[in-house]
């Protein structure tokens, strides 16, 4: 049936989703947004020693249009906030945000007038990494968590839409 694909049980739809997820999870291109010392750890994770490219983050994308994962590594000040939001808005769906380090998660030690108290006040965050700064292994774990999350995602069958169809 034609609606079978949208109801979520269909073989074609699920296999197509599997294929898309298979492609997505093997190429999570990061957009490195390093604004503080966490940025140094991120560079370390990207470079030869830890080599994030093993997990498909082969190409740090400095254009938000071609990025899948926004890695926010470091403090966001109130002055930087509109720039950060604009860059997030420019990313194409599906997108994911990794908030790396104490400053990005909660403002960290900078409980001041000029610091944004956590980037989740501005954009939705998928994965938080604690630490000040976190080690590169922590960033790799976050990337693996993103890959696991991708495996479970439904790029074609949107749940709300299928729920609507079941109701009719």
């Amino acid at each position: 049936m034609a609606t079978e694909a949208y109801n979520g049980g269909g073989w074609i739809a699920t296999k197509l989703e599997w294929l898309i997820n298979w492609g997505r999870k093997r190429s999570p291109w990061p957009l490195p947004y390093g604004t503080a010392c966490c940025g140094i750890e991120m560079m370390c994770a990207l470079a030869a020693g830890y080599d994030m490219a093993r997990f498909g983050a082969e190409r740090p994308s400095f254009s938000p249009r071609q990025a899948d994962v926004l890695i926010q590594a470091g403090t966001i000040t109130m002055k930087m906030a509109p720039v950060f939001k604009k860059i997030y808005d420019q990313m194409a769906e599906p997108k994911c945000v990794i908030s790396m380090g104490a400053c990005a998660c909660s403002g960290g030690v900078f409980r001041t007038y000029s610091t944004l108290q956590g980037i989740d006040k501005l954009v939705p965050v998928d994965i938080y990494i604690p630490g000040c700064p976190p080690r590169p292994e922590a960033l790799l774990q976050a990337l693996l968590m993103f890959i696991k999350k991708t495996e479970k995602s439904h790029p074609i069958i949107h749940k709300k839409y299928s729920d609507l169809l079941v109701g009719t």
Partner: protein
């Protein structure tokens, strides 16, 4: 001749010296606010001094220093403290200072020039006509303390955003802010 005497010889006859101190070899001179440009020109153009390089401009807030002390230490200092008491009851010194750090590249000498700025009259002459290097530090002092520099070509905030309502480095401004919010507005 040492630097302190030379500066005094240069500025003294014009009665441009309000106060002068030397601490660990660093000479600091306070000049009247109204005649700042005049004093700076003399310091730069007198061949004896030749302070041709402006390293920094910054503000100072002396809010807590100016507060009258609650308990004068009578027990420790005895009669000396009592003799000083009438001085404290005089008018408080102005709250703010603007400090200029000058450097003479030829002789590698440094000089600190101060002007005192009261809260009622926050206007100081800008040094941008003499040193282009003064533009950004003066903007920073305006941003953080609210000192207005007369004659500055582009006096807007340097570090905080334009709509920020306060001057955050003043001592009576709380560290965590007063709940200022940044409203994100995009132009299409």
């Amino acid at each position: 001749m040492d630097l302190k005497k030379r500066v005094e010889q240069c500025l003294g006859p014009e009665s441009l010296v309000v106060a002068m101190t030397e601490c660990q070899g660093d000479v600091s001179v306070e000049v009247p606010k109204r005649r700042l440009l005049e004093a700076m020109r003399l310091l730069r153009d007198t061949p004896d001094l030749g302070f041709d390089f402006l390293s920094d401009v910054f503000g100072v807030d002396n809010l807590d220093l100016n507060k009258p002390k609650k308990k004068p230490k009578k027990a420790e200092e005895g009669e000396g403290a009592e003799a000083e008491e009438p001085k404290e009851k005089g008018p408080l010194p102005p709250r703010f200072e603007v400090v200029y750090l000058l450097l003479c590249l030829e002789r590698n000498e440094r000089l600190q020039v101060k002007v005192r700025v009261s809260e009622d009259d926050m206007e100081v002459d800008s040094l941008t006509s003499m040193w282009k290097a003064a533009t950004w530090p003066e903007r920073e002092a305006f941003d953080m303390y609210g000192v207005r520099f007369k004659g500055h070509p582009n006096l807007k905030r340097l570090l905080m955003w334009d709509d920020f309502p306060a001057h955050p480095l003043r001592k009576d401004y709380p560290l965590e802010g007063q709940g200022e919010e940044r409203h994100l507005i995009y132009e299409d």
